[in-house]
């Protein structure tokens, strides 16, 4: 429901006697983040499956292919620009976020966009993300690797102290590493980055301010891992002493310190007077006196809170709320971002009938992405996804976009008919019988609308019986996860979300390994090289080879070509489907300045505010 319609209804209630009102919350909201973990695990793909009639000639009309750099008409990414302005001291930003942080123990507690805003205010990263997509110095003054990218050396900047006065130096990393080795959030990324987390020397100090990271294989993109929230730098002594209590009184080196933490109500952070960074004029940062985070789950009231002045900044990852904010933009500054993160879903490639590429391709060809995007409220804002990279990403491939099965209902029916008429079809049904699929999404209103669009499309083919199911988020994830030892999951066609704006290796390399020991051994790989979070059970040794090669070089063109190979494999094997890339927003009162102009210590421009993750350490109030 749009805000205008809601307001009109409210006015009616005030003026007249209304018998019933049965509104609802915003129906245009974006799907909730289902998971940041995408593991593609291929079982045996294409069992007897013929190639779908999708070997389209390369001279397929390229008019339909979105050119690199294209943005949707309604995509209003806020430009990241350097500024000559000097910030002013003082004031408080009260920030309405989507949800409370589960906890502020980066190595242990899951952390998505709302939490990342909080965590990166209290803790610092070793490296930060620049606007050009490279990684630059933050706590680490410099970092380098040996020739084959198996040993990385980080030099920590001197003079940095934690909030409790403890110094940050290389010995700190010696103390942090054992915590990372067993951390629920930290161990996985370290392992997938190529570290042997059982090796006590994989991270070790070599001088007072230098430490090394030793890998079991090359990783040219290792710094990307140290930009992630799981590896934020915390004071290890306090973490050991406080255990779960650390979550409420975290100790980091960040620009702000937690003063009070009233869960699900407000977390108040105050300026760290001893933060290590200054602005270009030499003024100690941060500018703000305090930063208050208020979890406000309801999208409409979060925006209302900004409009009423209860908060002076808010975030949203929902298209409908972005539209409403644009409509109410007087006196507001909208920091918008649309990146790689793309909605859609996955097929459980290990189970029939999804184990046959004709089924996956046929269903994908019958997916009218524009209609689904419309149901999600993203019409004009989001372009249909064709790969893990948005058209304005440096990694975007027009070739992969051309290869992706475009919406062609008749072709989809034909492809699927090939499977249905196959007497040796994998689901064991008789030739000619419709396939049965379960389409499952979490019970979010826009996701339900989107799945109903898919259900109607697929059912109308006459070839598919669709069973729609909704489970709470945790169950939805658990169904995809499965259980040991096979980790196959209990899902079929499952709503999911893919990609991030980080280096491609951070997501792809983590997810495209064998899904269980049997799958690993069958492909000649060690049985320990498995990840249960390869949720769609898609594995292709050539894809893994390309991914490993992509982190064995730091040459961009080579890496680009290899990731393009991976996206082409997705287009060929279709283990997943896409809706549209996700727009995000941080909306603030006009006085809040600096979210799109923050810099790294070396003077280079930061990445801005991807996925509504604001960096508040250089924000000020221009009043």
């Amino acid at each position: 429901m749009s805000k205008r319609w809601r307001n009109s209804l409210a006015l009616l209630l005030a003026l007249a006697l209304v018998a019933t009102a049965c509104g609802g919350s915003d129906g245009d909201s974006e799907p909730a983040d289902e998971s940041d973990n995408v593991e593609v695990e291929s079982g045996d793909t294409d069992d007897g499956g013929n190639d779908a009639p999708e070997d389209e000639p390369e001279d397929e009309p390229e008019d339909d292919v979105v050119a690199a750099g294209t943005e949707a008409e309604g995509d209003e990414d806020t430009e990241v620009v350097a500024t000559e302005e000097v910030g002013r001291y003082g004031g408080t930003v009260t920030y309405g976020i989507e949800a409370e942080a589960t906890g502020l123990r980066p190595w242990e507690d899951a952390c998505s966009s709302p939490c990342i805003n909080m965590a990166t205010s209290v803790f610092d990263k070793m490296v930060e993300f620049r606007s050009d997509g490279t990684y630059g110095p933050w706590l680490a003054e410099e970092f380098s690797s040996n020739d084959d990218f198996t040993v990385w050396t980080f030099k920590i900047r001197e003079g940095v102290t934690f909030h409790n006065g403890e110094p940050l130096n290389a010995a700190t990393m010696d103390a942090i590493y054992p915590i990372w080795q067993t951390g629920a959030q930290s161990a996985g990324p370290l392992g997938s980055a190529g570290m042997d987390v059982e090796d006590p020397t994989a991270i070790q100090s070599i001088s007072e301010y230098e430490f090394t990271v030793t890998l079991t294989r090359s990783n040219s993109a290792l710094p990307a891992i140290f930009e992630r929230p799981q590896l934020l730098i915390f004071e290890p002594g306090a973490a050991m002493d406080m255990a779960e209590g650390f979550s409420n009184t975290p100790v980091g080196t960040g620009a702000f310190e937690v003063e009070t933490r009233d869960l699900d109500n407000e977390t108040v952070m105050v300026r760290n007077e001893n933060w290590w960074m200054s602005d270009a004029e030499g003024n100690q940062l941060p500018y703000l006196d305090s930063l208050i985070f208020r979890p406000i789950p309801d999208e409409g009231t979060r925006l209302d809170s900004l409009l009423s002045g209860t908060v002076n900044a808010m975030q949203t990852l929902r298209q409908g709320t972005i539209r409403d904010a644009r409509d109410s933009a007087d006196g507001l500054t909208l920091y918008e971002f649309q990146g790689n993160n793309v909605g859609g879903g996955m097929f459980n490639v290990a189970v029939p009938p999804y184990d046959d590429v004709r089924v996956r391709r046929g269903l994908t060809q019958m997916n009218n992405q524009e209609a689904v995007i419309g149901a999600l409220g993203g019409t004009g804002i989001s372009l249909p996804g064709t790969q893990w990279f948005s058209p304005d990403s440096v990694w975007y491939s027009e070739k992969a976009a051309a290869a992706w099965p475009q919406f062609d209902f008749a072709a989809g029916q034909e492809t699927l008919q090939g499977y249905i008429d196959d007497p040796a079809r994998s689901d064991g049904k008789a030739a000619g019988e419709a396939i049965e699929i379960e389409l499952s999404c979490p019970p979010d209103p826009t996701l339900i609308a989107a799945m109903q669009v898919l259900e109607q499309l697929w059912s109308s083919s006459g070839l598919v019986d669709v069973n729609l199911t909704n489970y709470d988020q945790q169950t939805h994830i658990n169904y995809a996860l499965g259980a040991p030892p096979d980790w196959l999951g209990e899902h079929g066609a499952h709503c999911w979300r893919w990609s991030s704006d980080n280096d491609p290796s951070t997501e792809l390399n983590r997810q495209l390994v064998p899904y269980n020991a049997e799958n690993a051994v069958a492909n000649g790989l060690p049985e320990t090289l498995v990840s249960p979070t390869n949720f769609n059970n898609y594995f292709d040794p050539e894809v893994l080879g390309a991914l490993n090669a992509a982190i064995a070089t730091d040459n961009f063109e080579e890496r680009y070509a290899l990731y393009e190979t991976v996206m082409l494999a997705f287009a060929e094997d279709v283990p997943l489907w896409y809706s549209g890339h996700t727009a995000t927003l941080i909306a603030t009162e006009d006085s809040v300045v600096g979210l799109n102009s923050w810099e790294l210590p070396d003077g280079t421009l930061g990445v801005g505010h991807p996925a509504a993750e604001g960096r508040w350490n250089q924000v000020y109030l221009d009043e």
Partner: protein
């Protein structure tokens, strides 16, 4: 009296046992491996970790046995720990009860303070203009869901008019910000929550008043020349309020469990929002603890209602 007390206590214990077991059993029957509720998806699932968690939470035991372990700890006041974040469930409940409790009490007080006069007037002036207006108001109150009322109040009073500087969302604790700030943050959600019970109480009291005012003793009182206000307040209200008191008792329990939506809309750190989060996170210890607590309060409140009944109606006392 002692017998009554013991009977009530027995009922309380039986109810709590039933509610806690049902909740536990339902949670245990949810699909999926319970380990996956405890461990995040990206967490390592080596044999040692799984074994440790299995022992810690007795996951390899039958449901009855696991319930027994939970009950043994619960009677000692230990409701377990949240799977996510590790906070003691008891502490979580303690933090949130003041919010939900204040909301429920405020909503009830607002509802009663409006319902009683309008119910009396409606009963006394049956069929007249003021009764018709009151009835129309009752219709609106019963028809409009509390979350719609909440959204409307936020829009009208905070966004459009900035009335009294009321905040749109959030909760100001008395201990942190003082009582006036607390009331400012509580008033809008309490009003939204009170509308439906307010309408219900008004209608109920009005109906009972109409019946009571036709009783012979009321006619006698009129014949004696007593004033209308005296008759209404002294002779009619008390017997008419028995149903109302019963309903208030039931309603408080409903309010305690029914603040979920209002707490979500207004972003309040109450029991309802935490219960919802626990359900979404499959944090079964939280769900178990909060449900049992709500059941406990519900039975307690209704026991109190019974005693108030006895105080008001001597006939029940004599029975």
């Amino acid at each position: 009296m002692l017998k009554v007390l013991l009977a009530r206590l027995g009922r309380l214990i039986v109810t709590l046992l039933a509610v806690s077991f049902l909740t536990f059993a339902l949670g245990a029957s949810l699909p999926g491996d319970p380990i996956n509720s405890i461990l995040p998806p990206e967490s390592p699932r080596d044999a040692a970790t799984i074994s440790r968690l299995t022992d810690e939470f007795n996951l390899d035991q039958p449901v009855l046995v696991r319930y027994g372990y939970w009950l043994k700890d619960a009677v000692r006041g230990d409701l377990g720990f949240s799977y996510i974040g590790g906070q003691p469930v008891g502490d979580i409940i303690k933090d949130r009860v003041p919010v939900t409790g204040e909301l429920a009490i405020l909503a009830t007080l607002i509802a009663i303070s409006v319902a009683v006069p309008f119910g009396i007037i409606g009963g006394y002036k049956e069929g007249q203009g003021v009764d018709k207006i009151s009835s129309a108001g009752v219709q609106i109150g019963l028809s409009v869901p509390s979350f719609i009322a909440g959204i409307f109040l936020i829009w009208l009073l905070t966004v459009k008019t900035g009335f009294l500087g009321l905040p749109s969302t959030g909760w100001n604790r008395i201990s942190d910000k003082g009582i006036w700030a607390n009331l400012k943050s509580a008033i809008l959600p309490a009003v939204a929550l009170s509308l439906s019970p307010m309408a219900f109480y008004t209608r109920l009291l009005r109906s009972d008043m109409i019946g009571t005012l036709k009783e012979d003793y009321v006619l006698s009182a009129r014949a004696k020349g007593l004033s209308s206000s005296y008759i209404l307040g002294r002779h009619a209200l008390r017997p008419s309020s028995l149903s109302l008191i019963t309903i208030i008792g039931i309603q408080i329990g409903i309010l305690l469990g029914g603040t979920v939506v209002i707490e979500q809309i207004f972003a309040l750190p109450g029991l309802g929002s935490r219960l919802l989060k626990g359900i979404n996170d499959r944090d079964l210890q939280i769900v178990q603890g909060i449900v049992v607590f709500i059941a406990f309060v519900y039975v307690l409140v209704n026991t109190l209602v019974d005693f108030i009944y006895m105080a008001i109606d001597p006939r029940i006392r004599k029975r």
